[in-house]
């Protein structure tokens, strides 16, 4: 592929949990280079509790993350503001109550080509509300393995059972990134998310789409708005320079990717023991 050359786009990944806040600011990487995840530390980041009015300025740690020990309080709405290079990116998120993980199970299911280990994560859902969305994340020995956004459409009596395909039984045929082997520690986290965040995560897993913008932008000379095609953007040539061989005039827009999520995280773990699972 002869990829187009476009300017790097800022990426903000911000979480506020019951344990504190953590924000990373990075930039996109060209397709023909490896992602380095180099943290940008020249931003000013504030976190504001809309209920109490308290504002916290996050500071960088040794890894380049912006952190704060401020704990998210259920029911409070928080505003994250990231100022950098003449632009301010803002997002809000409301802290919801944590879910309870009821069970984490594996079962072997026969597919046409092989048996596949299906992971089923069961957790609670508030049956009195509709439209609840969740982000189920799976880690293999502490490393990111898979994620799946889910809504309460599939809830039954206040319980959601989310299934995800994982590794094949014939491990010689499995790709390294999908492989689970005997003894692997599989950790599952469930986080309540907004519908917009759900749409964003769905879009990221859909080829060719960026999803909705989760940040608004105020730049030095232009009031930003929610951009189309998946990133917040505002047109402002004063704060963004284009490379000479850029192919897209819209690249002049100031854009930002990522999310701000104020939400409690619930986790549970299971050891991958293939011979012990039903269907082996």
């Amino acid at each position: 592929m002869n990829y187009h050359d476009i300017d790097p786009v800022p990426v903000i990944e911000a979480t506020l949990t019951q344990d504190g806040a953590r924000v990373s600011v990075t930039e996109t990487t060209p397709m023909n280079q490896a992602i380095t995840n180099t943290k940008l530390t020249d931003a000013t980041i504030t976190l504001t509790d809309s209920e109490s009015g308290a504002t916290t300025i996050l500071s960088t740690d040794d890894s380049g993350y912006y952190t704060s020990s401020t704990q998210g309080i259920t029911g409070h709405t928080y505003t994250l503001s990231v100022s950098r290079a003449g632009a301010t990116y803002t997002a809000t998120s409301t802290m919801t109550a944590p879910v309870e993980i009821i069970s984490v199970e594996f079962e072997w299911v026969q597919m046409p080509y092989d048996k596949v280990a299906i992971l089923q994560v069961s957790f609670t859902d508030d049956p009195t509300t509709q439209g609840d969305c969740y982000w189920v994340r799976v880690y293999r020995n502490g490393e990111a393995y898979a994620w799946s956004p889910v809504t309460d459409v599939q809830a039954v009596d206040g319980r959601i059972d989310q299934v995800m395909m994982t590794t094949r039984m014939d491990i010689d045929e499995e790709d390294a990134e999908d492989l689970l082997i005997d003894g692997d520690q599989v950790t599952v986290s469930v986080t309540p998310i907004s519908r917009t965040m759900y749409d964003y995560l769905i879009a990221l897993s859909t080829s060719g789409s960026n999803g909705p913008a989760l940040f608004t932008i105020d730049s030095a000379t232009n009031t930003g708005s929610n951009g189309s095609n998946g990133s917040a953007s505002s047109t402002n040539s004063a704060t963004s320079t284009n490379s000479s061989n850029s192919t897209n005039s819209a690249d002049n827009a100031v854009r930002v990717l990522g999310y701000f999520l104020a939400s409690p995280v619930t986790t549970a773990s299971i050891t991958f023991s293939p011979t012990q699972f039903p269907g082996y």
């Binding site: 187009h4 026969q110 089923q120 990221l204």
Partner: protein
């Protein structure tokens, strides 16, 4: 004894020549009558005034029942063994007919030639073969639809004996549901479509099932690697009532059951057609047609995908005197899909349907040989379930209905020796039907869509003018406007059985297109060669697409996840054919550019449409070596298809994500492929013909792109890679057919 096949247009009727039994005639334009010429039959001898046969061609003059004489060009096929379905030729395919046709872009498909093109897994597929013609293109390897002049497959109207077929494809599109044994006639309208057709903003494929022979029984059976099929036809009441039935079923799943690992895998399809043809008098003809196709793909106790068409139509043709014809059609068709999945404690299902009931009346007045006036009316009830989701205990559904009516008036005739005019207008009226009987919406946490009523009126002018430079050369221009009220919203670049369909509503407007075209057609004096060149420009309004990031499952309220915009396409089509001799075939080239502009997508800028292909080349050759051996080959080249590929990547929560700066900003590698086939014909017994066919798809093993996607690659220095999947490797096939 020689066999002859009619290859020229019959002015008074659409007649297809068969070579068994006696001669009979009919006038129904939409349903050709079988026409048999056994030279030793006295009855025929009295009707054939002159028959001058040579080894390869002959002319036949026939006195029809209306006491007029018609002269047909016929071509000797081979010695008489039995009537073979491959000899079913559609009238009007001759070079002279192509040159003389008034309507620009109208192609009477030469089915006998189309099915001589190389077979895919032993199956003749008219739709696949049709894509070898100029201006007609396959959606892609493994896709079932065809695209015409910048339109996508869902913007085509496919009509079979008056019934509309939606997405007629098997195996996710690898085969069409058109069993070649069932089809007798087909016409593709790429340019201005006749006023009696509506509901398509791209093209119309108008086909007819073959009627049964009224004199004797015939049949055929074919066994291939993938499927088997059979057909039988014959008289119920001699000269009055006949039947024709075809059936086809795949049996891949039978082989799969032999492999323990695949024992639970189900993968089959079938299709059945039946036609009963009744001729109560010389002036009347009534036929009843039924079509059923069904696909079943499943993994036992885990998931299932089912989809299929059902359609039926009743056609009555009545001739009153020399000048009046009345064609009445009542039709019903239904397209349904059903997807199920059960995994541990999760049960999910999605169903959809389109139901279409219509009544159509055409009155054709021919005051003189050179002038025809048609008036007509159509009323049609559409009921579309865009989605019904059942997820465990949760039920969601969106169902809408519409009433579509149309009136039309058209004139076709010669203004003088030089000019021929085809002009008309279709007035269409679409009303959104409201109330509990016609609408239903249930959803969880979704805003109620606008279910209010609305009525849309559209005038659709259709115009064509031909100027004869000489008997062998002419110029044509055409302008045609049309509207469409069923909108397929597609998640992928190609038609998928589970595409969702939106019906025109208070929010979704009727899709409109207008096409301007001009062309030149010419041929040699002996009709051995003919050629054509056409240019077109098409403007499309109210085309719909998913919003960025939305998929068919995002919301049951379809209108909340789609956006409407514009499209435009322009192009040049060149085609040259060799019609006579041992070696026949054609070469076609299409240069085209298709773009879309939908507010909310691609920063509101024009972008190359997903079906944009700049260059499309086809070479088709058929060689008749002897009475026993026939060979064919086709080579296609398609330049790359627009692709939305990432420009940069980033990481969230340890996962690689991609950022796309523009829609369809890249192109896939080009597609090219050589397909070849050979057929060995013999006559093992009297009245029996057998054919052993060998085929090879992708003969030089070029892996053309079918899907391109991006994924992590731990072994790559960049950590990611672009992956291209191909539909076809080297695909050999063999099939055996026995006919009587």
């Amino acid at each position: 004894m020689e066999r002859y096949t009619l290859i020229e247009k019959v002015r008074v009727a659409c007649i297809t020549l068969f070579f068994c039994g006696a001669m009979n005639f009919g006038w129904a334009e939409y349903a050709p009558t079988h026409f048999a010429v056994p030279a030793d039959n006295d009855a025929v001898t009295t009707n054939i005034i002159n028959m001058g046969a040579t080894s390869n061609s002959a002319s036949v003059t026939v006195k029809t029942e209306a006491a007029t004489e018609e002269t047909f060009q016929v071509e000797s096929v081979d010695s008489l063994g039995a009537r073979t379905l491959g000899e079913v030729l559609v009238t009007g395919q001759a070079a002279r007919q192509r040159v003389q046709a008034t309507r620009l872009g109208a192609e009477n498909l030469d089915i006998s030639k189309l099915i001589e093109t190389p077979k895919l897994l032993g199956e003749n597929d008219i739709i696949k073969s049709m894509t070898l013609m100029a201006g007609v293109r396959s959606e892609g390897d493994g896709a079932g639809g065809f695209e015409v002049r910048g339109g996508n497959a869902s913007q085509n109207l496919i009509v079979l004996d008056g019934m509309t077929l939606y997405n007629p494809s098997h195996v996710m599109g690898i085969f069409s549901t058109f069993n070649d044994a069932a089809i007798s006639r087909a016409t593709l309208y790429k340019g201005p479509i006749p006023t009696n057709f509506g509901g398509a903003t791209s093209a119309v494929l108008d086909a007819s099932l073959a009627s049964g022979d009224t004199e004797s029984y015939h049949g055929a059976a074919t066994v291939g690697l993938l499927s088997a099929k059979a057909n039988v036809e014959g008289p119920i009441v001699r000269d009055k009532l006949s039947f024709a039935v075809t059936a086809r079923r795949s049996y891949v799943d039978m082989f799969l059951k032999m492999v323990p690992k695949y024992r639970g895998t189900v993968m089959n399809f079938y299709d059945v057609t039946a036609k009963v043809d009744y001729r109560p008098s010389a002036r009347d003809r009534v036929d009843l047609s039924v079509v059923r196709s069904y696909d079943h793909m499943a993994i036992t106790d885990l998931m299932g995908l089912h989809w299929g068409n059902f359609g039926t139509s009743l056609n009555w043709s009545h001739t009153n005197g020399e000048s009046w014809r009345f064609l009445t059609t009542g039709a019903y068709s239904e397209y349904t899909t059903n997807a199920l999945m059960t995994m541990m404690r999760s049960d999910q299902a999605m169903t959809e349907f389109i139901r279409d009931a219509s009544l159509n009346e055409r009155v054709i007045f021919t005051p003189s040989e050179n002038h025809t006036v048609e008036v007509g009316a159509r009323t049609q009830l559409l009921r579309v379930k865009s989605g019904e989701f059942q997820v465990n205990d949760t039920h969601e559904i969106e169902l809408r209905s519409g009433w579509q009516n149309a009136l039309w008036l058209s004139y076709d005739g010669n203004l003088n020796e030089r000019f021929t005019l085809s002009a008309g207008v279709r007035l269409s009226l679409f009303s959104v039907l409201t109330g509990d009987s016609f609408q239903r919406f249930e959803a969880v946490d979704e805003a109620l869509p606008d279910m209010s009523g609305a009525t849309y009126f559209n005038a659709e002018p259709r115009f064509g003018l031909k100027y004869n430079l000489s008997e062998m050369h002419n110029l044509k221009i055409g302008i045609g406007s049309s509207t469409q009220n069923t909108h397929a919203i597609r998640s992928s670049a190609t038609t998928f059985p589970f595409d969702r369909y939106a019906l025109t509503s208070a929010t979704v407007k009727p899709e409109r297109s207008i096409q301007y075209s001009a062309g030149y057609v010419g041929m040699t004096a002996n009709e051995k060669f003919d050629w054509s060149a056409e240019v077109y420009y098409r403007d499309m309004r109210n085309i719909y697409d998913f919003t960025d990031g939305s998929t068919m499952f995002s919301r049951v309220n379809l209108e909340s996840i789609i956006l409407g915009g514009r499209g435009r396409s322009y192009g040049l089509e060149l085609m040259a054919r060799k019609n006579i001799g041992r070696l026949t075939g054609w070469v076609s080239y299409t240069l085209s550019h298709t773009q879309s502009k939908i507010p909310g997508i691609n920063d509101n800028r024009w972008y190359n449409a997903t079906n944009d292909r700049r260059h499309d080349v086809s070479f088709v050759a058929m060689y008749h070596l002897s009475d026993r051996w026939d060979f064919s080959a086709s080579w296609i080249y398609l330049s790359g298809q627009p692709l939305t590929a990432p420009d940069v990547k980033y990481e969230l929560d340890g996962h690689t994500c991609y950022y796309y700066s523009q829609r369809n900003g890249y192109k896939t590698p080009s597609t090219h492929r050589l397909d070849v086939s050979a057929t060995y014909t013999r006559h093992p017994w009297k009245r029996f013909t057998s054919e052993l066919s060998f085929g090879l798809i992708n003969a030089y093993y070029h892996l053309s792109p079918s899907i391109v996607y991006f994924e992590d690659d731990a072994e790559s220095p960049t950590g990611t890679r672009a992956v291209q999947r191909s539909m076809y490797g080297l695909l050999p096939s063999v099939s055996y057919t026995l006919k009587f």
